[in-house]
Symmetry: C2
Subunit: 183 residues, 2 copies
DNA sequence: CAGAAGTTTCAGAAATTTCTGAAATTAATA
DNA sequence: TATTAATTTCAGAAATTTCTGAAACTTCTG
């Protein structure tokens, strides 16, 4: 399968960005290719579209599956595995955020709680800083949990409220005088 | 400077997480050390606390400076550079998010716009997908820009609104019947 | 200006990650 | 059950990233 110039450039960009996103070039390219493909692709097709080894494709797909970023499909009379990305971009974003939280935040939250439990015998500053950090992360992950629960439609509304957000917050929480415009 | 067991474990954890966060072990460790230190530290002190080479410390600090994650301090009669992290954790989070956006999102947004400009001659599906992705990222970065503008106090309120958020959104945007409880 | 103190640069060494080809494994079909 | 097709595993090769020590540079001080 030869790539169109548009696909080509998109795929190469995702490959290059891969390292900044915590995945490798191949994984980025495979994902990009699937993302732009209207039909599910099998490993063989991916291998030759990207000019990589068959084993590299296999590992890349395994990695993408561990991120829940691809869906497996089958066709009657063909026993090869075919892969796609979800049509719904919001679903993709939700997965991406959930997985990054799991890998980048949760382990640290666990570690911070551990460190607080075991105490510190006189290292008061460090203990306070760790505890403050743990609280902040808990607040943010709590907020994330709420966002996660919202239907896409509400999420879109929230995101497009623009300048109205500040006022809303104030109304919802009994505005703190110093923050309101009048007085 | 010998580390307390608490500092030690925190520093090692941040070192290990470094690779998942897109920085290297040393950079993670230096940051962790500064974060827990009540006083600014100079390069020499960092070097021996972490048992790394002086040049590695220099590179790590440079990297942290490029992320705007450390502040430079000086003391009278001492011409060495001393480094700290901000006391305010919210400031740290804001910086972190801004820098990650700059490195992980902005280049892709630019690339997507480029690809849309140059068109595609018949690759309709890819073109539609790219355009949809670009729109979604624009919506999210627009929302980020709004959040970014909020004072920390309002941000905290928003994050701790809990279950009230859905109702708020509905009220603010003339609730969509299908989403409200009544009817 | 000469020397000392502090910092950065940089080429190569060390470590780590990614990728490949070959072999092994799994599963379907004859 | 033997054969074929598809996929995975894995040891080592290749590429990349990180780290170090030595040299270069910068800035201050006597």
């Amino acid at each position: 399968m030869a790539l169109t110039p548009l696909q080509q450039e998109f795929v190469l960009h995702f490959g290059e960005m891969g390292s900044r996103w915590g995945i490798n070039r191949t994984v980025g390219q495979i994902y990009a290719l699937l993302f732009l493909s209207p039909k599910p692709l099998n490993a063989e097709t991916i291998t030759d579209a990207l000019a990589i080894s068959r084993s590299n494709t296999s590992m890349g797909l395994k990695e993408l599956q561990s991120w829940n970023l691809v869906r497996l499909r089958h066709f009657p009379g063909d026993r090869r595995d075919y892969f796609t990305t979800p049509d719904d971009l919001w679903e993709i974003v939700r997965t991406l955020v959930a997985e990054r939280k799991k890998r980048e935040i949760d382990p640290t939250l666990i570690k911070l709680r551990e460190l607080e439990m075991q105490g510190s015998a006189g290292d008061d500053y460090a203990e306070a800083r760790i505890s403050e950090l743990r609280e902040l992360i808990e607040m943010m992950t709590g907020f994330y949990d709420e966002m996660e629960k919202l239907e896409t439609e509400r999420l879109v509304k929230l995101m497009t409220l623009g300048g109205k957000i500040a006022g809303l917050i104030d109304k919802a929480s009994g505005a703190f005088p110093a923050l309101t415009k009048r007085s």
